[in-house]
């Protein structure tokens, strides 16, 4: 096995196992941890998570592909997720996305060639009072207009 967690992450794994009556319940949590550690979840990481949780690799694969937050490809240093659901849509989410695509020169689902930013669209992020809004890494940003978007992009290195 060529991938493995660092020892600090392995301690985390043990702590996660203790929360549940069985190891399988930890699959989603370990995929989150793996994404934090490795940036994305490739086939080797998938197999590694299966081994740790003692489930068949196909089980991990099904889980991985079911959930929207897991990345199976390397992503940019920053991840921008534009909300496209109804409250944001009513407040101009389409223009937000168009502006970002134009400014970054990429379409939703792509990463800038310099590896700086990955752009995605997502469904309601539970921050509709900020509409139109987006998530930038851990943070919610909104209400957005072109000026606000410029300011946010400015800060992303």
């Amino acid at each position: 096995m060529s991938v493995a967690f660092r020892s600090s992450a392995l301690e985390k794994v043990q702590e996660i196992f203790r929360r549940y009556p069985d190891r399988r319940a930890a699959v989603i949590q370990l995929l989150h941890l793996a994404q934090e550690e490795f940036g994305y979840i490739g086939p080797e990481v998938e197999r590694y998570v299966a081994e740790l949780t003692q489930v068949p690799p196909v089980f991990v694969h099904q889980v991985l592909t079911f959930y929207g937050m897991f990345r199976t490809q390397p992503a940019g240093r920053h991840h921008i997720k534009v909300c496209r659901s109804i409250a944001c849509h009513l407040m101009g989410a389409t223009s937000v996305l168009e502006y970002l695509e134009k400014k970054l020169g990429i379409r939703a689902g792509q990463t800038t060639p310099d590896g700086r930013i990955t752009l995605s669209t997502v469904e309601c992020l539970g921050a509709c009072e900020l509409a139109p809004m987006m998530q930038v890494d851990d943070d919610f940003c909104g209400p957005l207009d072109e000026q606000r978007i410029d300011e946010v992009l400015e800060k992303l290195k």
Binding site: R19, A25, L31, Q62, Y67, R84, S85, I86, M91, G126
Partner: protein
């Protein structure tokens, strides 16, 4: 009725998310009262009398739900908190977890004691990174004080609370999909019965409650079921926190009594419609609830009043649309959402949401045919009540209500192959 401050009472107080601040304002008194003198049955009775109903969407009476958990079972029991908050238009649970995470923890403790659970999981949507940090800090503070763990408050009850992080799937807000996801699987809803009260997490008796529902419980114990019930309406006790979004001047959360009308919420609390425009329509309870016309907003926001006019109080996500809104375009967005989020497990929902989307796409591209409007309605009607979980209904109901109430706009889109409303608005602006 005016706004009330129950769960929101500490919002805005400095460090309201820290244990000492919560405690200084009367926090953790209700759980002490429960552990030092109330039987589990008495707690359940009190919650029943308060007429507290599930605020995650379905409005099921909370005390009654707790009473379904078998008392004689030797298996472990679980409290599972639904903090998945994915219904478009809903964001109140995020405010609760950011501002008063200890209020939620106290509610969890009381629920656990009432049903005899010694483990609770908070199923938190993965995108809520900051709420997660707040909860982690609150849980650590509670363990450090002995408010969680082997012998909570030194009063002889054991309780552990864990956070389980979701990974971006709306369907996992549905309680049985949530339990599947808690068990580490993909979130495919289960057939009911059995209900979670008997077969829930890891095959054991489980109560699944929304963040806000549980957060009202300590206040009910502290101030009495009568007080809470009397704030509300005949069958919906107390208050709730509405999430108001869309074309209002002050989008945000508003905690109001159940008898408060949507008109008051929109025009007084949320400041009315932006730029002095006219109201056109309101979705009162998250995107799955049937839409209301402007003239229907003199209705209380409680479960029964909204049901009596053919809509739903749902998650309390009030989405406001002004006169510039194209109803075809709004529904198109909602239909795309459900088509994207259907888990695909049952045919009427998987195929139905796909058809609805394709027809809406086609109309949007100017290639609609006259039968399309009736077909949209018929496909939606066919989905109703024929699916494993309520997502099928949630996708169908908006379609039926939008088409019934704004039919002319849909016909016009088909006839003219474009949106005349947007055209007019654009001309008026330029």
């Amino acid at each position: 009725m005016p706004q009330v401050k129950i769960i929101t009472q500490l919002f805005g107080v400095e460090d309201s998310h820290r244990l000492p601040v919560y405690e200084r304002h009367g926090g953790y008194q209700a759980i002490r009262k429960v552990l030092s003198g109330m039987s589990p049955e008495a707690v359940i009775e009190e919650v029943k009398k308060s007429r507290l109903r599930g605020l995650g969407g379905a409005g099921f009476p909370t005390g009654l739900k707790w009473s379904f958990v078998p008392k004689d079972s030797q298996r472990p029991k679980y409290v599972v908190v639904n903090a998945d908050e994915g219904e478009p238009g809903t964001f109140k649970d995020r405010y609760i977890m950011m501002n008063v995470p200890h209020n939620l923890l106290e509610g969890i403790m009381i629920a656990a004691y009432a049903i005899g659970a010694h483990t609770a999981y908070i199923y938190l949507r993965g995108e809520y990174v900051h709420p997660r940090r707040r909860l982690e800090q609150a849980i650590a503070e509670a363990y450090a004080k002995g408010y969680l763990g082997e012998n909570i408050f030194g009063l002889g009850y054991k309780l552990d609370v864990y956070i389980h992080v979701g990974a971006g799937a709306y369907i996992c807000g549905e309680e049985t999909a949530l339990l599947e996801s808690l068990e580490g699987k993909k979130g495919w809803p289960r057939l009911k019965p059995p209900f979670p009260a008997t077969v829930g997490a890891f095959g054991c008796p489980t109560v699944v409650n929304n963040v806000e529902t549980l957060s009202y419980v300590p206040h009910i114990i502290q101030r009495g079921a009568e007080w809470f019930a009397s704030l509300g309406t005949e069958r919906s006790g107390g208050a709730r926190i509405l999430s108001v979004s869309g074309h209002v001047r002050r989008p945000g959360i508003y905690e109001v009594t159940m008898s408060t009308t949507l008109r008051e919420v929109i025009y007084e609390h949320a400041g009315g419609i932006r730029e002095g425009r006219a109201l056109k329509a309101v979705i009162p309870g998250g995107s799955s609830s049937p839409v209301l016309r402007a003239e229907e907003v003199d209705v209380a926001c409680c479960f029964d009043a909204l049901a009596s006019i053919g809509s739903m109080a749902g998650s309390g996500g009030v989405i406001v649309m002004d006169e510039t809104t194209c109803m075809f375009d709004a529904l198109h967005n909602i239909v795309q959402f459900y088509a994207h989020e259907s888990c695909g497990q049952c045919t009427p929902c998987r195929v139905g949401t796909g058809w609805l989307k394709r027809i809406m796409d086609r109309i949007g591209e100017g290639r609609g045919v006259p039968e399309d409007v009736d077909n949209l309605r018929a496909i939606a009607a066919d989905m109703l009540g024929r699916t494993i979980c309520p997502l099928g209904d949630a996708a169908a109901m908006p379609v039926m209500s939008f088409v019934d109430k704004f039919r002319e706009e849909f016909e016009q889109h088909v006839r003219e192959g474009r949106c005349s409303l947007r055209q007019t608005v654009r001309e008026a602006v330029s």
